[in-house]
């Protein structure tokens, strides 16, 4: 097929992000300037975000490799916002970093481009390409403060395990190809119409393993706490928000459209994975004394909740996924944003141990309010966006009559409350003589601070008045290709 202007326009966000990456790279080659690189990145990402409005007029549009539909646009918007937040955080975080600072933005932009490709892919080739483009720069980002041992360890750990997962993914794709002779999802759907053989099922299962690793679904979650703990704040933020959103979007697309992923057997496996992920994630989080590790385990649990949407795969599923992803991402950005801001003025390891946060409220009330709101939102308490997300998940389970899943969500939430509350109350307990770390005095007027406050305000606003978000997600999910 020929590429027309329409197609180019539809791909504008991706092109803009890539162009920004090139500009940043050339800028670095010409003259290093930290704030300059950050500004170019932010401008580029904003342009890409704005171009989504134009793209929406063209949707849904399908190319052989990519589908520009509601799901892709929804995911793209989330990824771009997350990337923007990470760029602002990175600027605050790297200000005091005594090494080359500018390359971080380059890596961030490349990874963002990968996320855009991944979430729009309708072909196993683009899926693989996108996934690798998300992950490769992340290795660099996680090991960016490589003089700190933990950071390097995080980067290498993620690299090795991710590579292992990729081989599973590739092998699964090979099996699917061997069974059907197609690599595009539409082709897979057609050729599998008459039923799917054992090899095809095995292939589908291996693909889920590969993607499940990125989402840190139990039992492929072992890397998560170490990587979250070791990686520098902005990189972890990106890993926890943008990359997970992108991977989940493509998993949703696969499960919703390809029949190989809709067999009862696979659904059963997914259901078990969902329950185990929720419970294990929450249980392991209980004993953590490091905030970043705790958030890592809690993100495992959250993707367990999200998996229920995939298991049920009908009715409100897509809408619920969209809403949950929006709320999860905002909350994650807020929580990790605060961690990053507290850590930023120091070289060395991030301030993540819980005792660093003791009595933070009496020194930085608004920053603490942000962290409190995000913790409440993760726990799914009313007046926060997280409640709307949890409401959708439970509604979905009740509608489909999956009582085991609903029960697991409730048990998981109850366990979750325990550690979210522990974090929250720590913030308010003042004790003399504790080791203290702090955000800079003027944190609130810096870009990172504004972003964090914005995230918290949005969490509250969407918690109180979620109608616009729900409408938006509904419009997006109604414009999704290949679901029927």
């Amino acid at each position: 097929m020929t590429l027309t202007a329409t197609h180019l326009l539809a791909l504008a966000p991706l092109i803009l992000v890539c162009a920004t990456a090139i500009v940043v790279m050339l800028g670095i080659a010409w003259r290093r300037h930290h704030t300059g690189s950050a500004i170019v990145t932010v401008v580029g990402l904003n342009l890409a975000l704005l171009s989504l409005f134009g793209v929406w007029q063209l949707a849904p549009l399908e190319t052989p490799m990519l589908a520009i539909d509601g799901l892709a646009i929804l995911a793209a918007a989330l990824i771009l916002i997350a990337a923007l937040a990470c760029a602002t955080l990175a600027h605050a975080y790297l200000e005091q970093f005594d090494d080359q600072r500018e390359e971080f933005y380059l890596l961030l932009l490349c990874s963002t481009a990968g996320g855009l490709v991944l979430s729009a892919s309708t072909h196993l080739a683009t899926l693989f390409f996108g996934l690798e483009l998300v992950s490769m720069p992340l290795y660099g980002m996680l090991a960016y403060t490589y003089r700190a041992r933990r950071s390097l360890e995080a980067g290498i750990k993620y690299l090795v395990l991710s590579a292992a997962a990729t081989t599973f993914l590739l092998f699964g794709m090979a099996l699917l190809y061997a069974e059907t002779g197609h690599l595009d999802i539409a082709g897979l759907v057609d050729s599998a119409a008459g039923g799917i053989g054992a090899w095809g099922l095995a292939g589908a299962a291996l693909v889920i393993v590969g993607l499940g690793f990125k989402l840190s679904v139990v039992p492929f979650h072992l890397w998560t706490p170490d990587v979250y703990e070791g990686g520098p704040g902005p990189a972890t933020t990106f890993l926890a928000s943008a990359s997970k959103v992108a991977v989940f979007a493509v998993l949703l697309r696969l499960v919703m459209s390809a029949p190989a992923f809709q067999s009862d057997w696979l659904h059963g496996v997914l259901a078990v994975l969902a329950v185990v992920t929720m419970l294990v994630g929450n249980l392991l989080a209980v004993t953590q004394s490091n905030l970043k590790r705790l958030l890592g385990y809690s993100s495992i649990a959250h993707f367990g909740y999200l998996l229920t949407a995939l298991v049920i795969g009908e009715g409100l599923s897509i809408e619920a996924t969209g809403v949950y992803l929006v709320t999860y991402m905002l909350t994650t950005l807020g929580a990790f944003g605060v961690v990053t801001l507290i850590s930023s003025p120091y070289s060395g390891e991030d301030a993540a141990a819980l005792h660093h946060y003791r009595g933070l409220f009496w020194r930085r009330p608004y920053l603490t309010a942000v962290l409190t709101i995000t913790m409440l939102s993760m726990a799914g308490i009313p007046f926060t966006a997280g409640f709307i997300g949890k409401f959708y998940i439970i509604a979905l389970g009740v509608e489909a009559g999956r009582w085991w899943l609903v029960g697991a969500v409730i048990v998981g939430s109850a366990i979750g409350l325990y550690y979210y509350l522990r974090v929250m109350v720590t913030l308010y307990l003042a004790e003399a003589g504790m080791q203290r770390r702090d955000a800079p005095e003027n944190w609130a007027i810096q870009a990172g601070g504004v972003m964090v406050l914005g995230a918290a305000v949005l969490v509250i606003l969407l918690g109180i008045y979620p109608a616009p978000m729900i409408d938006w997600v509904r419009v997006m999910s109604s414009a999704m290709l290949g679901v029927g």
């Binding site: 308490i381 325990y418 979620p466």
Partner: protein
Amino acid sequence: MTLLWLILIPFIGGLLCWQGERYGGMAPRWIALATMLIELLITLGLWFQGEYHLPGAGTASDAVRWSMEWQVPWIPRFGISVHLALDGLSLVLIALTGFLGMLAVLCSWNEIVKRVGFFHLNLLWILGGVVGVFLSIDLFLFFFFWEMMLVPMYFLIALWGHSGSEGRTRIRAATKFFIYTQASGLLMLVSILGLVFAHHANTGEYSFEYATLMQTPLSDNVAMWLMLGFFVAFAVKLPVVPVHGWLPDAHAQAPTAGSVDLAGILLKTAAYGMLRFALPLFPEASQAFAPVAMTLGLIGIFYGAVLACGQQDVKRLIAYTSIAHMGFVLIGIYAGTELALQGVVLMMVAHAFSAAGLFILSGQLYERLFTRDMREMGGLWGRTGSLPGFSLCFVAASLGMPGTANFLGEFLILFGSFPVAPWTVAIASFGFLLAAVYALLLMQRVYFGPPKAEGLFADLDRREYLMMLSLLGLVLLFGLYPQPLLDTTSAAMGEVERLFTAVSQSSTLLTGAP
């Protein structure tokens, strides 16, 4: 709009308190006091103006009638709206909230010295959430407030509470309270959603509307499960015996204001929830479940009373007596006759006053003695001014002495329940005996016996005197002349009774078939 303001005033007042702290420690207290006074005055104004003697049931239609109503769409996707409505029951309970809110502010006047602004923010937000619970008749909104009010309560216990003996820290108590209530709340959310989807399956429309969902026909099995979801959430909050574990700890560790709110108002939200939602939404299932619920109530009466006798901590003792009193409330609710339901309302109000009085008194004792352990008290009569006298009055109220509102409440409950469940009533009557035992034990251990130390303690000051006198006055007022209260809630209670007892007579009323 008045109804919306009733909810908003505490929230706004809370924010003002928080910011008011920069003008000194007294500013938040006065702001909080003024806020609750406005709340109370508005409610009383509505009481005197409004008409709560609604036309008798069955005259016109089956539609639920409210004295005031306010509705705006909120989340149209699911048919959720901000729907507030007021009837006699909610009016009484909101007035109670306003009054106890003022007391809570007053009793922490000297007790709370750290982070005064933030304390009052939490205090007022609890009250705002409670008012929201009493006013919402959209099930989503109801759940919203139901869960929301736990967060400030958690902070109140965790940050300003007392750390007791080993293993009983305030944070542990707060966490226990939060997890108990939140997890059971999620069960209620599942039930609400189950009801909504059952309605959706029937009509193809989403609605969280109280009046609409009441019309949903349900199979017996489904109705029972959904009812249980509601019941568990309310039972934890009430609390009913197997799920009461959070209450003694929370009370013992909470600051006085927290205990007053907890015993006076938060427990009442559970009884309110049963009266407003569990019974009317699932009358058949509730009817079938009534024997179990009454048995649980009976167990609660004896369990609470027996354990209260063995406590050393004053506040734990009062907490266990709350369990016993709530056992009576549970029996009354599931008896479902109008007389019993009226008794429940009176009992709720009376218990709020007497428990609040006892908790405030134990707070005042603590401010003088710096202990709540009864082993270190004794012989305080005559050494603490008029404190023992007031204690005697509230203890008498708590054991149900005729002349106090508690007596009337318990009497009406037992009298009203007798035709329905004579044996239950007969057994429950022995609860009075135990009530006398624990009440007298409390008096004996604290105020009589050999003194543990010499010296006089400060008498009550004017603020404390005022609080005690007003509480005592109300206990006696409703004990001697409860008619205005009963008149206000009779229509609402009659409605509950009509729905509940209609089960055995006809089935058309239930399914709402015209």
